[in-house]
Structures are given as structure tokens and as C-alpha cells.
């Protein structure tokens, strides 16, 4: 049976394996602080907004049309605060190029606004973006806001992008605008090659408190 943090600390204290400075500090408070410290998350790295953000995108989680060309993409993640709590009242704005590397500035293709579910989770379906002519790497733009937290603009990149030549650790700098290796995510191919496959990516977002 898994031991709770409080029980473990009590046992350690009883056996003399641990001394709590100050003596009077209750074990339960120490256990809570320890748990909180372990829940803490690092803020998602910032990446620039880019030139083609468009306000008032549609509220949807399906960005691709039935007949759109390109590798189907499924992105999912959870929105957290740095203290590890989920942020179900966050708002995510997503935009990207189509499979050919074209942004729709006249309309709202491949642009969406969405809210996380009750567990802070979000998910959307799209296609792997093409290579926009003035940028090196394929990317999806994010603007995420939540009450009491700093807004963040960032970009999701794909480890399968040919510009990384199979080694994002080594070749991340191929695109000088990528600010962190953490933003280049693994791609898992799911589905049946005979019928339907999708490139699945997990991308959690962590917001700093305002």
C-alpha cells in the first residue's frame, strides 16, 4: 500500500531518520508544503506572437475541414498554474498555417478559440502546418490567458519536422525563433494505416501568476 507523505514523515520522525527544525512544526503542514513543492510546475517558455494573430476567431476544437489535405493532427494537453492547479477558466487561442504554409488572413481557417474542460484539459484537431515561407520550422501559435495569471504567447513545434533532421536537441537552432527545446514536442502516430492515421501531440501549458 502506498504510504501518504504525512505517514512517511511521521514514521521517519519516530525512527529518528528525520529532524524537523523548530520542533513544533506539525508534520501535516510539512507534508502539505512538501506536496505543494512537488506539484510546482515550470512556466511554459515564451515565444513571440508572430505577425498573423487575428482577433475574434471561432469557438471550435475542429480546425480541419473534411477534405483538407495534410497529415491529420491531434493536440491535447492540460492548462496549469505554476502551483500545479488546473486552470479550467483559461482561454486558448490557436492559429497556424494550412498544410501548404498559408495563413488565412481574410477568414478564420485554422484559427480557433477554446476553453479547457473541468479537468483543465484541452484538445483540438487540425493538420500538421506547412512551412511558412519566412519561417524555418512548422509551428502552431498559442495565446493563453486566465484570470489572475500573466497571458502567454508561445509556439508548439514538432520533433518530426524535417528541419531538425531527426535530432531536435542538436538542430533546434535551425530556427532562431525557437526559444526552448521544451516547445518541440514528440509526435506519436496513432490509428490504422489502412484507414486513418493521426499525428498526436501532447502540449501542457503552465501560466505564471500575475
Amino acid at each position: 500500500m502506498e504510504m501518504k507523505r504525512r505517514e512517511l514523515l511521521e514514521k521517519c520522525a519516530a525512527l529518528g531518520a528525520m529532524t524537523i527544525a523548530g520542533g513544533a512544526m506539525p508534520i501535516v503542514a510539512v507534508a502539505r508544503a512538501w506536496d505543494d513543492a512537488e506539484k510546482r510546475k515550470t512556466p511554459t517558455p515564451w515565444c513571440e506572437l508572430g505577425p498573423f494573430y487575428k482577433r475574434d476567431a471561432p469557438h471550435t476544437t475542429m480546425l480541419r475541414g473534411a477534405n483538407d489535405s495534410g497529415m491529420p493532427l491531434a493536440v491535447a494537453g492540460t492548462v496549469y498554474s505554476v502551483n500545479g492547479n488546473i486552470l479550467q477558466d483559461a482561454t486558448l487561442e490557436i492559429w497556424q498555417t494550412d498544410n501548404a504554409g498559408h495563413y488565412d488572413n481574410q477568414g478564420y481557417l485554422y484559427r480557433a478559440i477554446m476553453k479547457p474542460d473541468g479537468k483543465g484539459g484541452y484538445a483540438f484537431e487540425s493538420v500538421l502546418p506547412g512551412h511558412y515561407p519566412a519561417r524555418v520550422a512548422q509551428h502552431v501559435h498559442y495565446l493563453v490567458t486566465a484570470p489572475g495569471h500573466k497571458p502567454i504567447t508561445t509556439q508548439l513545434y514538432f520533433a518530426t519536422d524535417p528541419v531538425f533532421q531527426g535530432d531536435p536537441d542538436k538542430n533546434m537552432k535551425a530556427d532562431p525563433l525557437i526559444t526552448s527545446r521544451e516547445l518541440i514536442r514528440a509526435v506519436v502516430i496513432k490509428g490504422d494505416p489502412g484507414t486513418h492515421i493521426v499525428a498526436a501531440v501532447n502540449f501542457d501549458i503552465v501560466l505564471e501568476k500575475a
Binding site: W46, E48, P51, F52, R55, N105, A134, T153
Partner: protein, 323 residues
Amino acid sequence: MKRLLGMVIALCCWTFSGNATASAADLKPVASVTLPCESTYQMISPTGKTLAALCNADRSLHVVDIASGKELFAQASDIRISASDFSRDGKWFGVGFWDGTVKIVPLAGGAAQQWRVSEHRIHLIEFLRDGHSVFVDALGDPGQIWDLSGTAKPVATLHSDFSGPSAVAASAYGKLLATGGGDTVMRIYDTGTWKMLHENRNASKLEMFDMDFTPDGKYLLAGGADDHLLVIDAATGEETRKLGGPSGVIDDVSALGDNTHVLVEYVDADDVNKPPVHAIWNLDTQKAQAMPDLETVTGHRVVNGKMWFASTKGTALQIFEYN
């Protein structure tokens, strides 16, 4: 320095194209100078007396006196240069870098100042008309005003909902400063108090890439990703006209001295190798006239109310005035 412009100049030089309705005879040579290097990007100062040239080979930046060809300042590219601007009186030159630092150089001599504004790269520098203040913006950060009297010190931080400004303009008499944000909001400030006078959230749903006031301060002109030239009443912040012309995003807006004509540069965002298209808009008739062909244009600026174009062949640079 405009964002898309930066992309374009990194990849190619500029040429005029399109169905010219104005004549090449409208272009009068006004000056020539030998550059210290081959360059496909130059910034002419507002006085027309100096220019900055970005060297193709090593990306170093050189400020040159146009009449004598003398080099007044050189900036090596050990830290990548990301923005630059001349002050209106030509006394100052500002350079922004990828490491978030800004350098202000007095061109008549004296010590330069360099300081860190942000961890992000600088993408906008605009000298104000008071002769001692500069607007600086680092990507993703709110715009900042710095006072250059003595050691540079921050004076004001301008609001953005998120990200920072993508365009900025100071009015000719210096009383107003306008910003267009990554948040797509246009804001006008009083430069005496830095109070926001107007905030327009409806004029554009996309980012603005450049702005300019007409010389009389009556209108604010703005263009960006939605390929329309926005004409804003500077006294109210409200849109008065939205002029749609050639397709492509607007990368540069320059009001000419007659308060009526505006040079607009359109770039194909899907093909940055394609030469940009230039048009002169008449705000009264709301009609645009295509610009004449010119072999290679590598810079432009409104000088004494007239549009000047720089054109280079090797290190030989010639400046033309458009009438």
C-alpha cells in the same frame, strides 16, 4: 524596423513592379554616395543628410554622411542587429539588438549609451520629436519610453493586453504617439503626460505593421496584415476611411508632405521573394496610383515632405526624389 520588411531584406533586394501609371521621369536624382560595403538595405535619415547601410556580407551597420561619404558610425554584427532609427533632427542614431539591448549614438560625437531593455530582441525604436526621448519595444513586452537626457532612464510603460506594439508613430508636432499592438488595438497617447487619449479596438482584427501621422497631425494612417490602409481621425481615434488596394499585407506607410498623399508598400506574405508593390494613395479622392518601375530600390524615406528612394549597384548608391 518593420517585421515583414526584415524578412524581405534578409532574402532579397527590392524592385518595383506593377502597372506603372506614374512616369519614371517623376524620379529626379538628388544625391549619390559610395557605401563602405555592398548593401541591399539602407535607411535614409529624415534630414536626408545621412543614411545607414546594412552590409550584405557581415550584417554590420554603417552610418554615412551622404554629401561627403564619410563614415560617422559603424556597428559590428557580433550581436545581431534587429532595429534602428534616426532621430528627426539627425543628431541621434539608435540600434536595437537581439539580446534586448539598445545603443544610442550621438552622431556629432560623444559617448554612446547602451543598456538592456529586455531579454527579448528589440524590434521597434522610434525617436520622439522632443529631441531627448525614445520609444523602445522588445518583442512580447509593452512599449517603453526612455529619457536620454543624461543616463537613459525609463519614463513610461505603455499598456498592451498581451504581447507589445508592432507599429509606432509620433505626430509631427510631437504631442501624440500612436501604437498598433500585437493585440490588434490602436492606441494614441499624450506625450506630455503619457495618458492614453484614445483606444480603438475595432479598426483592425489583425496586427498593424506600420503607422504614420499626416504632417498636419490630423490623421493617423495605419496598415498591416489585413491589406487595408486605415485612416484614423487623430483627434478622436475613430476610423474615417478604410482603403483597399493591391492585395498583400501592408509593410510600410509614409505620409508625404502635402497631407494628402501616402506611399504604401504591399508585400506578399506567402512569397517574400516576390518584389513588393508600391502605391501612392490620395486621401481626398481615395484612389491609388501605382509607382513607376525603378531597377533596384533598397531604401526610402520622406525627406522635406518628398519621397526619397535609394537604389544601389554594388557599392554605388543613388538617391532619387519622387515628384
